[in-house]
Symmetry: C2
């Protein structure tokens, strides 16, 4: 039922790589579902392809089978994630593949969703469909960091955005900070926002910058725009920490009609706020942030993109809730009187400082982007 990469042919790899490219087309809209792509191949020829665009709409396998029609019979299906085995908003894909007469299913990886977790492949096997798993597994894993982490741990995948000078400063001593990085870096941020299930910030940041925290479609790259037309634009949920109920329903945050959650430990009057703005209460406790992300996971939020100041950054890092650092470095030095990147408690020894793993570097205009991940994720 499972197989090592060595057992796959070069053709298998090419078809799975195509399935992964297809899956990517859904990554801006599929949350809370995973991005999945599927290619159906019969006698070396592609007879159907599809991807999952949106919860409630057809799964990748269904889209591919629809295209293949009668030709699905005897075909091999390349799927980036194990076909589902449970009745959700749509019937199980494993059942659909069996009924269509597909003779072999190659999945890039098993689905860690407890409702699937090998059952999809077993259902296929028991119906006499040959299966294999593990082709381009790493690439498939990267497609769905958020969904996979939530399925495995209950917590969303957390990306912390940082924009700083070479010497790690986010603002002048007097607080002047906007546009520390260049325009292209800010466009790059739009792409991360567009992929996130939710954007997290604080009332302080929102009020200081009059931040909208929306995806501005115009600022996405031309390549993304081609796959992701403006009328399909999904705005991520905006989550604002506002423990002291300071935020008022004015400013650019409220100019876009799209869900906002205000987080605090106390109930507040909401009559002045628009309908798309709700409060969510998380009890005060030393584990406030762990409780918050646990709550977000239960709300099916796969990934959280954090844009905030040094205090929130430090608290999330201290609670070990951050999976990825996205660091934009502007080619400037601001000096040690300027504002720091993250507030952390004092450690006594360098040896106690956790190590990150440099995963990506990319020059973006005059700036550079460094992406760090928790080791072994």
């Amino acid at each position: 039922m499972s197989a090592g990469s060595a057992d796959f042919s070069r053709e298998d790899q090419q078809f799975m790589a195509l399935a992964i490219e297809l899956a990517k087309k859904g990554r801006f809209t599929c949350t809370p579902n995973p991005a999945v792509g599927c290619v159906l191949v019969k006698e070396g020829r592609i007879v159907g392809q599809g991807y999952h665009a949106k919860a409630g709409e057809g799964h990748a396998e269904v889209m591919a089978m629809r295209q293949a029609g009668e030709q699905a019979k005897g075909a091999t299906a390349y799927v980036t994630l194990e076909p589902c085995s449970h009745y959700g908003r749509t019937p199980p894909c494993a059942k659909g593949l069996i009924e269509a007469g597909v003779s072999k299913v190659i999945a890039a990886m098993q689905d860690p969703n407890p409702q699937v977790a090998g059952r999809g492949l077993r259902m296929l096997n028991e119906a006499g469909v040959e299966t294999a798993v593990g082709l381009l597994e790493q690439e498939a894993e990267q497609l769905n960091r958020g969904f996979l982490k939530r399925m495995r741990t209950g917590f969303p995948y957390v990306q912390l955005k940082m924009a700083m000078s070479i010497d790690g400063r986010t603002a002048m001593a007097n607080g002047e900070s906007q546009w520390i990085t260049g325009e292209l870096a800010r466009q790059d941020v739009q792409q991360y926002r567009a992929m996130a299930s939710a954007i997290l910030s604080t009332s302080k940041t929102v009020m200081t910058d009059d931040a909208a925290l929306t995806v501005r479609w115009q600022q996405l790259s031309e390549q993304i725009k081609a796959d992701y037309p403006e009328q399909k634009l999904r705005q991520p949920l905006r989550i604002i920490l506002d423990s002291q109920h300071k935020i008022q329903p004015t400013g650019r945050l409220f100019a876009t009609e799209s869900p906002i959650w205000l987080i605090s430990s106390q109930e507040r009057a909401m009559q002045n706020f628009p309908d798309f703005c709700q409060q969510q209460m998380i009890a005060e406790s030393p584990y406030f942030f762990t409780d918050l992300f646990n709550f977000l996971g239960r709300q099916q939020i796969n990934s959280v993109w954090v844009e905030a100041g040094a205090t929130l950054a430090g608290k999330l890092l201290e609670a070990e809730l951050v999976d990825e650092l996205i660091v934009y470095i502007a080619p400037k030095l601001l000096g040690d009187q300027a504002r720091g990147l993250c507030h952390l408690p004092q450690l006594q020894h360098l040896a106690d400082v956790p190590l990150w793993q440099l995963a990506e570097t990319q020059q973006i205009g005059e700036d550079i982007k460094l992406v760090y991940r928790k080791p072994n994720l």
Copy 2:
């Protein structure tokens, strides 16, 4: 006499690229002279090659002609720098090329040395030797950033080394700092030290770290070691700022018998110091650092590699004396209580902050190196 790149053939480019590779072999030992390479080609065949290894020893052209012997007659010489026209420790190379009967000289660039500055090419022209200049000029410029800057401005080329955490911190709040970056990054530093005419630091840094500030041949890369045998190892001049005469002739700095200059504005008793350690006085003034580097330029120091703390870094940056930042970033966050990278005066507006230009990025073990240069250098 001069020509655009378009006038050079593909073969010309290949021979000049070889001359540049040859020049590099001299870059650890040639100071205060420039690194120069030369290839002699006759009828499409290389008849001689050479490079300049050390002041007082043969220039690149002489080495190549020695190898070519009679075959230099009628050959084309590819030289990375305009042949010299003046009697120094060796007779002028332009004269040598004429006497050997070379028929054409292609130089990557003119020599800005006021004693040459086009006279070498003119001397050749007047003797009926065809000349051209400007082939792979940028690459040739990079070979000798130090020499060229000193010839053009009187000041050495200054490289400031910085080793920091992702958030721009150099040490824990308690001062613990050694080995913030990994071993491979520290080996990379050895290569820069080996190329520098001088290493600049402060008595504070030397005493805190018990620094030797020497090149440790064993730590150079295998590739460099192959071209640069241990018995040829040149130790750069060590320049220590010690305004308050705090340094004592103990510790690792004095364990290597190689020149040390102690810089202050006041004369001090030197009888306890070894002979290889001298004092140099620079008067106190608001232009102390400008005066210091001007003095170093007059002492034929082409390039200075700075390893010091946030105070000296800040002062050099403020005086606009730094040409290049070499920034090693360790994959750690130390938080805003840890020590900053450089102490700078407060500016009021981000728009007033000078921009650097990202010139190189390289992953080195777990760390990343970013090299920034002053724009338009």
